[in-house]
């Protein structure tokens, strides 16, 4: 592993930006930090940011590991659409859907498992293409990104599937100990990812695969197995995000669910300090990155600036953070060039 110059963690700039945006709100947006208890739960802009940012945070967790192996997953948005659509079809049983006939008796855990399983299959396909066929990750996953929404539309017969299911909706709209459920889901997944990658050797193997695949193989790391695992994990996280998205609006829209989320997730990861070239990664950084993006969006919405400015601002933030990281890690980039 590369040694770090100075004590600055790789997610420093993301956190600095986040602090800057929060400071801006503290001074210029009255009531931004106001949190109150209503109907037995917390309300306020901060809670809203944590809640709204949960799907991208989930995606960025999986994406971090994929990027750490030197890969990328463009299909997360499409897999979200598939996950949400499978869940919606199993609840609502639309007449012309190929999977509408499958009856799980409305059992919420079973429906969630089925949707996650569908997402897992997508992840395994990505993983197989990348590891065994040795396709470049960007094209291997481009495939599902293009075809995935087609598959989701096929499953929903091209319609927006709406449903009513109290138990399922609670995933997104319910609260547990004063906080909305998506926040808890994101937190639990973050903790699990952290534990599994840092308390077992999985994290080390992932970094090894990403920083030098040949050396990793010589050292006995099963790079193929590692790659399949990370793509599978990433897809399951996307499926989960898709389920939250569908439960939130009580509908699955194969065309628009998770649209551009792959870009947001990749953005969150790279803003969080993980290099797109693979190797060293930071789950904390990705979470900070995801919530930085959400904080920007919410700030713009609460200040009444037109929402399209968010896009321009995102562009500026990406370039700024990229540049900051590039200059401080210039030597790192110089080493990358093969002699």
């Amino acid at each position: 592993m590369r040694s770090q110059r100075g004590p600055m963690p790789i997610w420093f700039w993301a956190l600095a930006f986040l602090a800057g945006v929060l400071l801006f709100n503290l001074i210029f947006t009255p009531g931004f930090f106001h949190v109150e208890v209503r109907e037995g739960r917390f309300f306020g802009s901060l809670v809203d940011i944590l809640n709204r940012g949960a799907p991208v945070a989930l995606l960025s967790l999986g994406m971090t590991l994929v990027i750490a192996t030197g890969g990328i997953d463009l299909s997360v948005g499409a897999v979200m659409a598939i996950g949400g659509t499978v869940a919606a079809c199993l609840i609502a049983h639309p007449p012309d859907s190929p999977i509408g006939g499958l009856d799980l008796h409305g059992s919420t855990p079973m429906i969630i498992c089925a949707a996650l399983f569908a997402a897992l299959l997508c992840g395994l396909l990505n993983g197989l293409l990348v590891s065994f066929l040795e396709l470049q990750p960007i094209i291997a996953t481009l495939l599902l990104m293009v075809a995935g929404r087609g598959i989701a539309q096929l499953l929903a017969d091209g319609k927006i599937v709406t449903f009513q299911a109290k138990g399922f909706e609670r995933i997104a709209t319910g609260t547990t100990t004063m906080l909305p459920n998506p926040i808890w889901i994101a937190f639990v997944c973050f903790a699990l990812f952290g534990l599994v990658t840092r308390r077992t050797s999985l994290g080390l193997f992932i970094e090894a695969t990403g920083s030098n695949p040949i050396a990793a193989r010589v050292a006995g790391v099963n790079a193929r197995g590692i790659k399949i695992t990370v793509y599978a994990l990433c897809a399951v996280m996307s499926g989960l995000a898709g389920i939250i998205g569908a439960a939130d609006i009580q509908a699955a829209d194969a065309n628009n669910a998770g649209l551009y989320f792959e870009l947001d997730a990749i953005l969150a990861v790279s803003v969080g300090g993980t290099s797109l070239m693979g190797g060293r990664y930071s789950l904390i950084g990705s979470i900070v990155g995801a919530y930085l993006m959400q904080t920007l969006t919410t700030t713009i919405l609460t200040r009444g600036v037109s929402p399209e400015v968010t896009l321009v601002l995102k562009a500026v933030v990406v370039v700024a953070v990229c540049l900051l990281q590039a200059t401080s890690f210039r030597q790192l980039f110089a080493k990358k060039v093969p002699a």
């Binding site: 990328i72 293409l129 066929l133 040795e134 396709l135 470049q136 960007i138 094209i139 291997a140 481009l142 495939l143 599902l144 990104m145 293009v146 075809a147 995935g148 929404r149 087609g150 598959i151 539309q153 096929l154 091209g158 194969a254 870009l263 990749i266 953005l267 790279s270 797109l276 070239m277 037109s306 399209e308 400015v309 968010t310 896009l311 321009v312 601002l313 995102k314 562009a315 500026v316 990406v318 370039v319 990229c322 540049l323 590039a326 200059t327 980039f333 060039v337 093969p338 002699a339």
Partner: protein
Amino acid sequence: MSREALKEKLPVTITAIVTVLMFVLCGLHFDRFMTLRVFMNLFSDSAFLGVVAVGMTFVILTGGIDLSVGSMVGCTSIMAAWLMQNTHLHTLVAMSIPLLFGLAIGAIQGFLVARFSLPPFLITLAGLFFCRGLALRISQESLQIDRPTFNDLASFSIQLPGKASLPTASIVLLVVVALGMLIARQTRFGRNVYAIGGSASSATLMGLPVRRTLILVYMLSGFCSALGGAVFTLYTSSGNAISGTGLELDAIAAVVIGGTLLSGGYGSVFGSLLGILILGIIQTAITFQGTLSSWWTRIVIGVLLLTFMVAQKLIERAAKRSGS
């Protein structure tokens, strides 16, 4: 032809065979498919995509990628429409300003990629956000264009036998493809592009102007996507900020199907034209079929992409095994 040259031509030859085969199969299956009119419509319907794909080919040849092309199409189309509605600029001037904008954005992206070795994926992603945001800022509604010069330009076409025609859009596409092939094969710039894609560090050691070439490549792509936006504006006679959404994927798909390797250094502009034609044939066939739903287009494109990528991989492995 030497063995080397044969090997180099293999992917694009396969693509060409597939293109002809698909057209003939569709022609046998559907009445009135195999006509000059349907064939020429392939060019006019995907003209804007084709123009964008030519620029994308150069970027991918250097081993980079340009995600900003789709929103650039939207941005330049709304910009041209806005200029024509709200100013008294001459039509041609109003259509040229967005082209300059494309060049400028391309130059900025190229500079960031070349000077700071930033990943093209992220920088052009920022370009995507920037252009789409700017486009929506100009106008969220679709703007109709009604100007005599513009209408003349939009409705101009060369009549061909069999009710077929070659409208302005197709002419632009053919000219851009011809120029692209010429630049890629016959100029020093083109050779540098292939050299950088093959190995950027070798290109640097050979004393090739790597930075300048990279900046020019992104400028070329920016210009092509702005031109694609102009063609799109002509095609729809209006500007819309959200047009071109997801276009970057279609362009990348066309380039990959055309036999260009995403790792760079290998491929051709002509292949991308074939890729565009294949995507067009799939779409036309699904329209002809009538009962197939539109989402099959995406699934078929996906399956086709997979087939091509696997085929490319197998060719690559075979080439490695034969030891050259």
